[in-house]
């Protein structure tokens, strides 16, 4: 179900059938869940840190745009403000234990809180070890810190630094490549960069491409620039 777990419009238990045919009505589609509109979760400092991390995970370089141009930080901010940040669809009952490497996400914190606690400790670490918050370090130092998180050389006290790194990497890739309706992949920049045509729904003319390139402008669920022009 899109959005919240049980939309108020849903009846508690619905009866269908008994010869009544299909319970169908036009224009009843569950339209996409656009992140959380313009809601924000991060504080100014948190947002700055997340933007800086994303910019190193998917850098802007001479090969093309990165997380900054794609506005991945806005994607993550909206995700954290919504059901995903609250882990609303995840099983979050205790007891909590560290688990083995094959048991998946075992943090007691939903994503938004994991970010909040980890970002605080990250900046704390950077201030004490490197003279400033993460966002103000040189790119080389930022990369060294991120490598430290990734390779478990830097540990946090309250949350797992590794769990946080894996999650923000996952969310950054999501924000770079998800449909622009969710706030990242702005102007389909991630799709253009790799050559993904997006949400087109019919490739029958191209099945026999036989190894040739298929030059197609990408399309989003919102359409694409110039679509509505005569």
């Amino acid at each position: 179900m899109a959005g919240t777990a049980l939309a108020a419009s849903r009846v508690l238990a619905s009866d269908y059938g008994r010869g009544a045919g299909m319970p169908w009505s036009p224009m009843s589609g569950e339209v996409p869940y656009y992140g959380t509109g313009s809601e924000r979760f991060f504080s100014h400092e948190e947002r700055r840190a997340v933007a800086a991390i994303c910019a190193r995970l998917i850098p802007s370089d001479d090969d093309g745009p990165g997380a900054s141009e794609a506005d991945v930080v806005t994607f993550i901010d909206r995700q954290m403000a919504g059901f995903y940040g609250r882990a609303q669809h995840w099983y979050m009952q205790g007891p909590f234990a560290e688990g083995t490497s094959t048991q998946g996400y075992q943090s007691e914190h939903p994503p938004a809180m994991l970010y909040r606690l980890a970002l605080a400790e990250l900046d704390e670490h950077c201030r004490s070890q490197m003279g400033g918050p993460f966002a103000e370090l040189t790119e080389e130092d930022q990369d060294a810190v991120l490598t430290g998180l990734d390779e478990e050389e830097i540990a946090f006290e309250r949350v797992s630094a590794k769990t946080f790194f894996d999650l923000i990497l996952e969310n950054t890739v999501e924000g770079f490549f998800a449909d622009p309706i969710y706030g990242g992949n702005r102007d389909m920049i991630g799709w253009r960069y790799v050559g993904f045509p997006g949400t087109r729904y019919d490739y029958r003319d191209f099945v026999g491409h036989n190894g040739a390139a298929i030059p197609l402008e990408p399309v989003s669920l919102q359409g694409r620039p110039g679509w509505s022009q005569p």
Binding site: A13, S14, P32, H89, G104, G195
Partner: protein, 586 residues
Amino acid sequence: MTKQLPRVDVVLVGFGWTGAIFAEKLTAAGLDVLALERGPWRDTPSDFATTFAQDELRYYWRHGMFQEASQDTLTFRNNSAQTALPMRRWGSFLPGNGVGGAGVHWNGQTYRFLPSDFVARSHNEERYGPLPADMTVQDYGVTYEELEPHFDYFEKICGICGQAGNVDGETIEGGNPFEGMRSDQYPNPPMRMTFSQDRFAASARALGLNPFPVPSANMSRAYVNPLGMQLAPCTYCGFCEKHGCGNYSKASPQTTIIPVLMQRPNFGLRTNSEVLSVEKTPDGKHATGVTYVDTSGEVWFQPADIVILCAYPLQNTRLLLLSEIGTPYDPRTGEGVVGKNYCYQVMSSATVFFEDEYTNGFVGAGALGMVVDDYNGDNFDHSGLGFIGGGYIACGTTNARPIESHPVPEDVPRWGSAWKRAVRENFLKTTSVGVHGSSMAHRSNHLDLDPTYKDVWGRPLLRMTYDFTLNDRRLTEHLTPVAEEIAHGMGGAHVKVNARRGSYDSEPYQTTHNTGGTIMGTDPASSVVNRYGQSWDLPNLFVTGAGLFPQNAGYNPTGTVGALAYWSVDAIINRYLPDPGPLVRP
């Protein structure tokens, strides 16, 4: 305070593929049938229309149509020495939820198991001698020959697109020479293949293998099924598995059966209704109906003459355990049956990276592929290999959804400029040769109830204890090099092998082919249900689905799930109803 409802002839627990199959046949036979589904109503125009179906974040990464882990998940550990912890979010597999179940978001690869797969123990012992003591592989109790008409009918309901290899004993060029004898062709011709499949097929043929098109539930042309349901040609959109089809091009309960059912006055469906337990008579010899709860927390008792468990295998197992039906399996003694022989799938692959040619993976479909069966089941001599079973080796082009699918060579870091560049360079130029291996039952791999963790209603979660076995490891070590060899012959610049090593990891997606737990067989001491899917303990209780598989073959399960459902419902109508009682006397 449980409220009692009016009696029905049949109550179905769960309304996915098997629920729809049972409901259609039983209502056609004149019975009054009620299906209870814990998830919501779902249909093409309202839930996955072409204007928004192709949303990778919503449907895959945010689990738009999967079971809510917050309501009910399972706990997992690799072995009994560990403490199981909840799968807090889905990873390795994606149980469905709502009308249509996982039949909404499947790929549509629709195989028949091999004749020898149904007699895995007797066949292999006859040929290779006794199986290892801890390998709890069993015969199904039903044969391929008995299931053949039901395979045929399910293929026609779905409109499967494929190339037969053996019709009435006659070998047909371009099909699978190893398949069991078919009574008819596929109802539709195969899908059109792309560059990757052409290269795979040429490489496989050069190695003396026998490639054939993956039998597909994605339509190669417009089709009307035996119930009058119309399906439309697939558009190769690349948003098949993990998504619903907005085109009516993928066979699902919604596109093949449900609209017909909804016209029938003797069919009812209640959604947002979660069955808590199967109820029994005081002597425990008959089912009386089911107790379910709606989303307001109101609890209801639904009496029924026949109860059929049509939920996902993991859920069917849990319902039997929670209802205290059948003896729970104990891995220490090997006694008991419920939760026994949980199996999965042993996957590996070889990625091919091209330099000058484009594979254009976004032009794809769930069941678009070419496949060889030369290393599946017992299609090759296992003498001296130390394992049984096998797998198909296939080159499918299902998607290039970028969050999920952006392969890079093995020496590339996980993030940063080098990663980004490698993603771009390879995004439109890779394909994969996959090994889809069988999973043989082992006495330690099982399902039971977790002692600690509870669902939203306070009932124990199901606990999974599972790891890859010696048989699995030998199998994958034997088959993965074959995939690698085919991959090397496809004309790419580089091949990366993705071997299956180490313990089973519950996090990365592998397949939603969870089997066993409610296995079928010939003896109440070693199986939960008899050859018709009827409970050994309660003759008016039937169980269906991939939970019946005593072990998992090297194929996607749905074709065999469909055939078993039609076989079982046929037995209910023609054997049970005229003379209710046990259909097999132990």
